[in-house]
């Protein structure tokens, strides 16, 4: 089995597919509502001046997530980068 990757480990400029959410409660629902539903393609764009958060492209929108929150999103490598 390949190691489980989280969105926070995704390098800026590369893409992946959301495979599952590992958070609970309101934030879990929020992430799904703004597009981080399993099966969605996601791409890391750029990092904030202060190191965190990172901006992600998800369903044609740019959403910034802190590393703690991005760590709760599991990803698998995209079929094509």
């Amino acid at each position: 089995m390949p190691p489980v990757n989280t969105l926070s480990s995704l390098k800026c400029g590369s893409g992946a597919i959301v495979s599952a959410l590992n958070t609970a409660g309101a934030m879990r629902r929020r992430l799904m509502d703004i597009g981080f539903a399993p099966g969605s393609p996601v791409r890391a764009l750029f990092r904030s001046c202060s190191g965190d958060p990172v901006a992600y492209l998800i369903h044609d929108t740019v959403i910034a997530l802190r590393s703690e929150d991005a760590a709760g999103i599991l990803i698998e490598s995209a079929a094509e980068p």
Binding site: D33, L45, C49, S50
Partner: protein, 704 residues
């Protein structure tokens, strides 16, 4: 900077204010994701001027506007943007409650054509609770530029409700909305996520709600009760009188949950299933209605890479801030002089006119020296900087720069266990701290929201800006071509100090009375949009600048009157004003100021704009009344009253950090609901200001 005449004036009614609906009136709610152009559409429909800006969370309260057309009255409600009916923040709860219980005759859901999928998520959620929905696909022009086109007819067919296309920013497509509303017939709410199995499991709850004939679909209610969203349950209780501890309800819920349990579904799994169901439906619909020609957005990407670069990002942000301040300072200088010269010669004419009318000398003096001069000063000093800074700031807002600032600063706020959106509320504080405090509703966590409210006044509002500009110009800028650049740099440093104090106090609060870990948060970075320059300038001058100026004058006129009285009524051979100044003097000396300055800050509680005029009245009341029309004369007066650079520095620091004005304090009381926090919000910056001023004063005495 959302406080404008239209958002608080008589034209708008607040969500909690009463809204009378006469006969033949239909209420239409405008809903949608944040930053999709709801307010633009609202303004176009109602002719109102709800302020718009390119960042999510611009509209915090709901605004109402009316339209009368061919015998039919329409009321439009501009609801704060929300991603979902499952609210996370206070403003989203407002939006959700208005949609669930607002009894709108129809809901117009505004969507962003450039990211339709996420917008459809909300459309589908709303279709689950009500069928009276019209979908407006906005920003078609922007989508076209990105090579995205939307098949509106197919979308309407799939959703089963009318779909309109528009580009509200350019005004196209808006006219079609009213005819559609006129002939509109709703459909039944439907469900996008309940499988037969789940529906069978929650049947006991559905039956329970069926018997009560609730205003919402029983199946939807049943699913939400099983999911157990606390804030939603509170709203159901408040608006529907639903008794959550009702025995029958509890039994039905337990039965439903145990049925679900047999399927291996718990509350969270159920929530997942509904979210996933909606997301999949939205995805399916999108693949059927959207055609996309891939086109690079290379330029936008490059701007963001620069603005978020480890080094250049900071440089760019500081340069933009300093540049805006420099334009303000250098641009305001000359008009300020012209205005003051004109206003003071007008004052002389007024004086002689009143004397000629035979008014007693004391009354003429009261009106001219007291009321008129204070008002004239406020106009001359406040108006030019505001008229330049407001439009500049609005431009940055419209372009979409502010969310990038929040994005860049978030790392610091995280280390202070606060929310990155606090920078957005600080930006609003630049316009008016009261507006900034209201803006804190965009912060999800109540703890982080309180931190943002308590620290908002560390950002100098437009009432304090011009005071600071005047003092910097007099004491620190020097002469020559570089003087306005020097002033801008000094002001930038002071603002950075304010931001640093905000962070320090946020850290302090989250280590002490508001302790906790930073909560999760999501921040949308909207695409850059070309601002409508002409409109921005006109609107920000008429709506904001004049509104703020009038508010300042309302405080300035009575303050001028009171100070004149205090300066001219004697008790025991000494004027009351002089007595007050003497009384405050020892304390004020400790922090590098004098009694008159401290008194001016205290009298300035109604509006910070009047601090300098009040101070001057104190100085001038004692002796010869000289004219303080120009900056040079002001310098003379201040120097004659013992000011040094250290005094000026202390006054600058104290302007940045002291109690918020009365309007802000009242707003804090309302938003936090606690007198204790209001007192803390006043004490926190005051203590910081006093300590810093005392340190500066002490250091200066040691050095010189």
């Amino acid at each position: 900077m959302g406080l404008t005449s239209s958002s608080v004036g008589s034209g708008a009614k607040n969500a909690d204010g009463s809204l009378s609906r006469g006969e033949n009136t239909r209420l239409i709610a405008l809903a949608g994701n944040p930053n999709v152009g709801k307010s633009t559409l609202f303004n176009a429909l109602t002719g109102m001027r709800q302020h718009t800006g390119n960042w999510p969370g611009k509209t915090v309260g709901s605004a109402y506007g009316t339209l009368r057309r061919e015998g039919q009255n329409w009321i439009f409600a501009d609801i704060p943007g929300t991603y979902s009916l499952m609210a996370r923040s206070a403003e989203e709860a407002v939006a959700r409650d208005l949609l669930l219980f607002g009894e709108a005759d129809a809901v117009v859901v505004v969507c962003d054509a450039t990211c339709l999928r996420r917008n459809l998520n909300l459309v589908l959620q709303i279709l689950e609770i009500c069928g009276d929905v019209i979908v407006c696909v906005n920003l078609l022009d922007e989508a076209a530029r990105k090579g995205v086109s939307v098949n509106l007819e197919a979308l309407s067919g799939l959703l089963g409700v009318p779909v309109l296309g528009m580009s509200a920013g350019r005004g196209s497509g808006i006219d079609a909305l009213i005819p559609v509303l006129e002939q509109f017939k709703g459909v039944q709410p439907r469900s996008f996520c309940c499988s037969c199995e789940i529906e069978r499991s929650i049947r006991p709850l559905i039956d329970y709600f069926d018997a009560y004939r609730p205003p919402l679909p029983p199946r939807w209610l049943a699913a939400r009760v099983c999911e157990g969203d606390g804030s939603l349950m509170d709203s159901l209780h408040r608006h529907m009188g639903m008794d959550l501890d009702d025995e029958e309800l509890c039994q039905a819920r337990d039965a439903a949950l145990s049925n679900l349990g047999e399927l291996g579904i718990d509350s969270q799994r159920l929530s997942d299933i509904s979210a996933q169901g909606i997301s999949d439906s939205a995805g399916n619909i999108c693949t059927q209605v959207i055609s996309k020609i891939p086109r690079g957005t290379a330029r936008e990407g490059k701007i963001d890479l620069l603005l978020t670069h480890k080094i250049w990002g900071w440089v760019a942000m500081l340069l933009l801030l300093a540049g805006a301040l420099w334009l303000t300072i250098s641009g305001a200088n000359y008009p300020s002089q012209l205005l003051s010269r004109a206003l003071f010669s007008l004052g002389d004419m007024l004086n002689s006119a009143l004397t000629a009318l035979g008014l007693p000398a004391w009354l003429t003096s009261l009106l001219c020296e007291g009321v008129y001069k204070t008002v004239a000063w406020v106009v001359a000093v406040m108006l030019p900087p505001m008229a330049i800074f407001f439009p500049l700031f609005t431009l940055m807002e419209d372009v979409g720069f502010l969310p990038r600032v929040a994005f860049n600063l978030d790392g610091f706020f995280k280390r202070c266990a606060a929310c990155g959106k606090q920078s957005l509320t600080m930006c609003m504080g630049f316009g008016c701290n009261a507006a900034g405090v209201i803006g804190c509703r965009i912060i999800d966590s109540p703890r982080e929201r309180l931190i943002a409210i308590l620290t908002n006044s560390f950002v100098p509002c437009n009432g304090r800006f011009p005071t600071m500009i005047a003092l910097i110009t007099i004491f620190f800028a020097g002469n020559g071509a570089m003087s306005s650049i020097r002033s801008a740099v000094i002001l930038t440093v002071l603002i950075v100090l304010g931001v640093a104090m905000t962070l320090a106090c946020s850290k302090l609060l989250s280590c002490t009375i508001l302790s906790g870990v930073p909560s999760s948060f999501t921040l949308e970075l909207p695409p850059y949009r070309r601002p409508k320059v002409g409109e921005v300038i006109v609107r920000s001058i008429f709506d904001r600048t004049l509104f703020v100026l009038v508010r300042a004058l309302k405080a300035a006129a009575p303050a001028g009157l009171i100070i004149w009285l205090l300066a001219n009524v004697s008790l025991g051979g000494e004027t009351i004003l002089a007595r007050c100044c003497e009384l405050l003097d020892p304390a004020a000396r400790l922090i590098g100021m004098d009694g008159a300055i401290l008194l001016a800050f205290i009298v300035g509680i109604p509006a910070n704009e009047i601090v300098i005029p009040v101070m001057l009245m104190c100085y001038l009341s004692g002796g010869s009344l000289m004219d303080y029309g120009s900056i040079a004369q002001l310098r003379g007066i201040l120097l004659a009253n013992g000011w040094s650079s250290v005094t000026a520095l202390c006054v600058l620091i104290f302007s940045l950090m002291h109690w918020p004005c009365a309007t802000t304090l009242m707003t804090i009381k309302k938003e936090s609901g606690s007198l204790g926090y209001t007192v803390l919000a006043a004490a926190l910056p005051t203590v910081c200001g006093i300590v810093l001023c005392a340190l500066v004063n002490f250091a200066a005495h040691m050095l010189f």
